[in-house]
């Protein structure tokens, strides 16, 4: 079946510059805030010389810990766990290098930046605890988070002696896999333009969840939720970094309130590395025990991480392979002098899949077994711990179809056997599994006299294609062409289920499409009911008093007449007619996940060791594909995101200072076009009707999961070298 496909409806606005991102907003009387950050990693501010800065032209005010703008409340909900809970400029304590110490507000951005450079801070420095390499040697138990499973040990059976089970295995592998800190590095930095009027805040701020952002701002600023309006129709990349509220938005809002004029705060590229969140480093010890025939008997997955946010064991191991003995544990390194860790694209899953899928490759080598055959020997039909059946799983077909597309049968199991000139060629594969789900959410569908209909939800489009999916799903539900559907999103005043429910977090967990599209169907049905009622009861309707009126293809049909809804609403002079609808709760009887099989070809220079990506195929089972173009775009971007971790990305923290030595885009390497290749993406397209009527599961992060392992496994196949510490750089491959 051909998958539906449609160009992005927001593409023209983005290409022409008509799309306004947060920092594109300029309001009358607006002032500019520039942040100043600490240059020590641990200690105290002794004094701040603001004299020259205050005397500099255009400076309106300078906020420091001595005159912190008012933040009466605390970050609520998940932000209280996954974002920075210490308020900006709270006190004179410095907890990490690059921490906010001042906000300079001036008439122009140049004046603010210039004055900021004149501030002299005197510190009393203490040796920072910034080295994860040191800290991971003495980890601690993680905190217990009410209502969250992160950090909870998992054992199967409850009294498992995993070391004994491993010792009793016929074959075992045990290795440690290290992943460095990683930064979101989205194209659009965190930025906010805040304006108050009569005690009510309007804030233009890029966010994944407008409703959550409003809830968090209201709580910290000590105002009613109804007094905060978040506007965020376009977001230039987020990756979890814009799921919660960070200092730039808080400072813009608080300074604007204090000064009584709009304030814009834009984070610099360097500041993004420290004043907003990142993915914490982790070190995973993974042991697999197996029979000689490949059946896995025991899995030990022990992780040490800076933060509880990344729990690779919990996230990964229970959903990949069958095993009678399982032991999963997380330890943390608390109180480090490092910036705040938060969620980042496939949190836990990216690191966990690197470890588990590398270890499976190592086990396949040890067993002399094909890596796909080993995976099929341990195929899960229901979840490993609870035994909950999967709703719809075609991972086996992903393996088969991917192997055929990629030419897996041509792979030599012998490392280094294939060369092309001066390049060693290697093939590797991995599995990607991403939990899928949806939260009940509310959508409003409204018919308008001009023949268009709006489909509105307080979700977000951070480049994912949500604008387009909403138009396509609205078109399908209302039986009209998609150009007659006007989506509305990225606004906290649009519908959500309600304060505190999971759907306030908007576009997170690759669940926006699976969450919003079923609610569109429900809301459309409600709205059609209202429209039919309107047609038969409204003064001026050609169908007034008619019976058995029905809606079909954008028209109301009855009494031998057909009236288009735009014409109807024009004749009845009643403006808009619509309704809200809320999607049903999820059937808890199943486990839901998306799957992919990744296949990667690399080349390694025989002289100088540069690893280069040359081919990548992925076959994806993510339920119904609602827009083939944006789905492909999401998987391609997700795969490259994962390969970037394999090849380049590493926040390099100086243990002695806590300074990130590569906190800029020249030194923090991201892949450029020359590093990539066309990613061959194939969708199986089995609608998951147990998940929702639209049958769509999560996509974006799925590409990221497992990509680094496919690359590392290909590197092994090319060179015989097993690299267990990311990124895989040429110095690690020089013999």
């Amino acid at each position: 079946m051909a998958q539906p496909t449609m160009n992005r409806i927001d593409a023209r606005a983005k290409v022409t510059g008509a799309a306004k991102y947060a920092s594109d907003h300029n309001l009358p009387g607006m002032a500019y805030g520039h942040m100043v950050t600490s240059t020590i990693g641990n200690g105290q501010i002794v004094s701040m010389d603001l004299g020259a800065a205050r005397a500099a032209g255009g400076v309106i005010d300078i906020y420091t810990h001595d005159n912190q703008p008012s933040f009466p409340g605390a970050l609520p909900g998940l932000a209280g766990i996954f974002a920075e809970t210490r308020h900006p400029l709270a006190d004179r304590e410095i907890h990490y290098y690059g921490q906010l110490v001042a906000l300079v507000v001036a008439d122009t951005i140049e004046q603010a930046r210039d004055a900021a450079a004149l501030i002299k801070v005197t510190y009393a420095a203490r040796p920072p605890k910034s080295s994860f390499e040191d800290a991971k040697r003495s980890p601690a138990d993680p905190p217990s988070l009410p209502g969250l499973p992160l950090g909870q040990p998992i054992k199967k059976p409850q009294d498992v002696d995993i070391e004994a089970a491993l010792a009793a295995s016929q074959v075992r592998v045990e290795q440690t896999y290290d992943v460095p800190p990683r930064h979101h590095s989205m194209m659009e930095p965190h930025a906010a333009v805040a304006a108050w009027q009569s005690g009510k805040l309007t804030i233009y701020s890029g966010t994944q969840g407008p409703a959550a952002h409003a809830m968090e701002l209201a709580a910290v600023l000590g105002v009613e939720l109804s007094d905060v309006h978040v506007v965020s129709p376009y977001v230039g990349g987020a990756f979890g970094g814009k799921a919660f509220t960070w200092a730039p938005a808080l400072l813009a809002a608080a300074a604007a309130r204090a000064l009584g004029r709009p304030v814009k705060v834009v984070t610099s590229r360097e500041q993004l590395f420290t004043v907003t969140g990142h993915r914490a480093a982790s070190s995973q010890t993974l042991a697999l025990g197996a029979y000689r025939d490949g059946r896995v008997t025991a899995i030990k997955h022990h992780t040490t991480c800076q933060s509880i946010v990344e729990d690779p064991g919990y996230r990964t191991t229970p959903k990949y392979y069958a095993a009678p003995n399982v032991d999963i544990k997380l330890m943390v390194t608390p109180d480090m002098n490092l910036p705040t860790a938060t969620i980042m694209r496939a949190p836990g899953d990216e690191a966990g899949s690197f470890a588990l899928e590398s270890a499976m490759d190592e086990l396949a080598v040890r067993l002399g077994m094909d890596p796909i055959e080993l995976r099929m020997k341990n195929y899960l039909e229901s979840t490993l711990i609870e035994g909950t059946p999967y709703s719809s799983k075609h991972l086996d077909e992903c393996y088969r179809a991917g192997a055929a597309r990629f030419g897996w049968s041509r792979r030599s199991a012998q490392p280094g056997a294939v060369t092309d000139g001066d390049w060693l060629v290697g093939l590797g594969m991995s599995t990607a599994i991403l939990d899928s789900g949806r939260a009940p959410t509310t959508v409003r569908v409204t018919f308008r006299p001009n023949g268009t209909a709006t489909v509105a939800c307080a979700t977000s489009d951070a480049g994912t294609g949500m604008w387009t999916i909403m138009a396509m799903t609205g078109a399908r539900a209302l039986e009209v062409s998609a150009d007659r559907i006007k989506p509305a999103l990225g606004d906290s005043w649009l519908p959500v289920v309600g304060n505190g429910n999971p759907d306030v977090y908007g576009a997170v967990g690759s669940a926006a499409t699976s969450t919003v599209t079923p609610a569109i169907l429900v809301a459309a049905k409600e709205a059609i009911g209202k429209l039919v009622e309107h047609a038969t009861t409204a003064e001026g309707s050609p169908l007034l008093g008619a019976r058995d009126v029905r809606y079909e293809g954008g028209s109301l049909i009855g009494a031998g007449k057909a009236v288009a809804f735009g014409e109807l609403l024009t004749l009845t002079r009643s403006g808009e007619v619509g309704a809200q609808g809320t999607s049903a709760a999820l059937d808890e009887g199943y486990a839901y996940a998306s799957y992919a099989a990744h296949f990667c070809e690399v080349r390694v220079n025989r002289w100088t060791g540069e690893p280069r990506l040359s081919r990548f195929t992925t076959v994806v089972d993510a339920g119904a594909i609602l827009n083939a173009q944006t789905a492909r775009n999401q998987i391609t971007g997700g795969v490259l995101f994962g390969l970037a971790a394999a090849m380049f990305e590493e926040g390099k923290v100086e243990g002695a200072t806590g300074r990130i030595s590569n906190a800029n885009l020249a030194d923090y390497l991201l892949p450029i076009n020359a590093d990539t290749t066309e990613i061959d993406v194939h969708f199986l397209d089995y609608p998951d009707t147990r998940l929702s009527p639209t049958g769509a599961r999560g996509i974006g992060e799925l590409g990221t999961v497992g990509a680094a392992a496919a690359f590392a496994n290909a590197i092994y196949n090319a060179t015989g070298k097993r690299i267990r510490t990311l990124p895989i750089t040429l110095d690690k491959l020089l013999a």
Binding site: D422, E654, A674
Partner: protein, 323 residues
């Protein structure tokens, strides 16, 4: 960025008249503006020389001459460069990005400052930026730093690819200053850091590079520039080599070898050249010669891989020329 005064010159003499203590010439601006924004350098006076007509790419029996204000992209694509001197064109094409190559000039390329992250961050100590303050790189993140020509005061690499190829080709610089014109071998132009890493070259105050000349070397047609880096484009070298060989009857008559990404200045390797001379153009020769490349190399805490990488880069370049 700190306040500065600005003047635009239309000729070399106007530029020289404008030069003064604490002034800087602005050509493509791809280094100067960057460093001014970072407040690594804060010139009191900026002299815009973009209209100064130091242009032209010419060749005669003596060699090739390139005006200092030619941009990298134009030089890389010029027939008088790409055919006779492949290593020059390849070095330029593997530098920076297309946008930067369209802006950056040849003179400015040779004067670009190191990419050492500590030099570029005024909140750290750096003897090159702030003489006597100390070197953060020696015990810091020094994976990309130099192993040749280093001192206890500085381990920063020279970043230019072009300068490596020009050093292999024995290029000369034409300079003009208040005292008139002079010419210097590029190899003699750059200084080693020793105790004064802030003094990077022999340029006198106010002096301007007006052009580069490359002595004719017909066998440089068989030359290449191999640049090894983590990313495939838009990144500085971990190691690079410019190699030319004059092979007759399967035997190397003469060779030119220079390295980048490993030295505190573009690093000519005469011992490698000598070891190639008179030997057969084959792998055993290359490996034996490359072994001389790292005589006296001093690896740092995080770049112990560089000596081996440099030797292998030389072998790779020679294998490429043999193929």
């Amino acid at each position: 960025m700190r306040p500065y005064t600005f003047a635009a010159a239309r000729s070399v003499s106007e530029a020289l008249e404008q030069a003064r203590d604490g002034s800087a010439y602005l050509a493509g601006g791809t280094t100067l503006v960057d460093l001014m924004k970072l407040e690594v350098i804060s010139p009191a006076h900026v002299v815009d020389i973009t209209a100064v007509p130091l242009r032209g790419i010419r060749a005669d029996a003596v060699g090739l001459s390139i005006g200092a204000m030619e941009c990298m992209a134009d030089v890389a694509g010029h027939d008088l460069v790409a055919g006779p001197y492949p290593m020059l064109a390849e070095a330029l094409r593997q530098s920076a990005s297309p946008q930067i190559r369209n802006m950056a000039t040849i003179g400015g390329n040779l004067l670009q400052r190191t990419r050492c992250g500590y030099f570029r961050d005024p909140h750290t100590t750096c003897n090159k930026r702030s003489p006597g303050s100390g070197c953060s790189a020696i015990d810091g993140h020094n994976r990309s730093h130099a192993i040749l020509g280093t001192s206890d005061a500085c381990v920063a690499t020279h970043p230019s690819d072009l300068a490596v190829a020009l050093t292999a080709l024995d290029a000369r610089l034409s300079l003009r200053g208040a005292g008139g014109e002079r010419s210097l071998r590029l190899a003699d132009f750059y200084r080693l850091p020793a105790g004064t890493p802030h003094l990077e070259n022999e340029l006198r105050p106010g002096e301007l590079i007006t052009g580069v000349t490359v002595p004719a070397l017909p066998w440089a047609r068989r030359s290449t520039y191999v640049k090894v880096r983590d990313r495939q484009s838009y990144e500085f070298a971990l190691a690079s080599v410019a190699v030319a060989v004059n092979v007759r009857g399967g035997v190397i008559g003469e060779a030119r070898v220079a390295a980048g990404g490993v030295g505190t200045k573009p690093w000519r390797l005469p011992a490698v050249e000598q070891a190639l001379k008179g030997r057969p153009m084959q792998a055993a020769t290359f490996e034996a010669a490359a072994a001389h490349a790292t005589d006296g190399a001093r690896p740092l805490s995080r770049n112990a891989f560089k000596p081996a990488l440099l030797r292998r880069t030389i072998v790779r370049a020679l294998v490429h020329l043999a193929g």
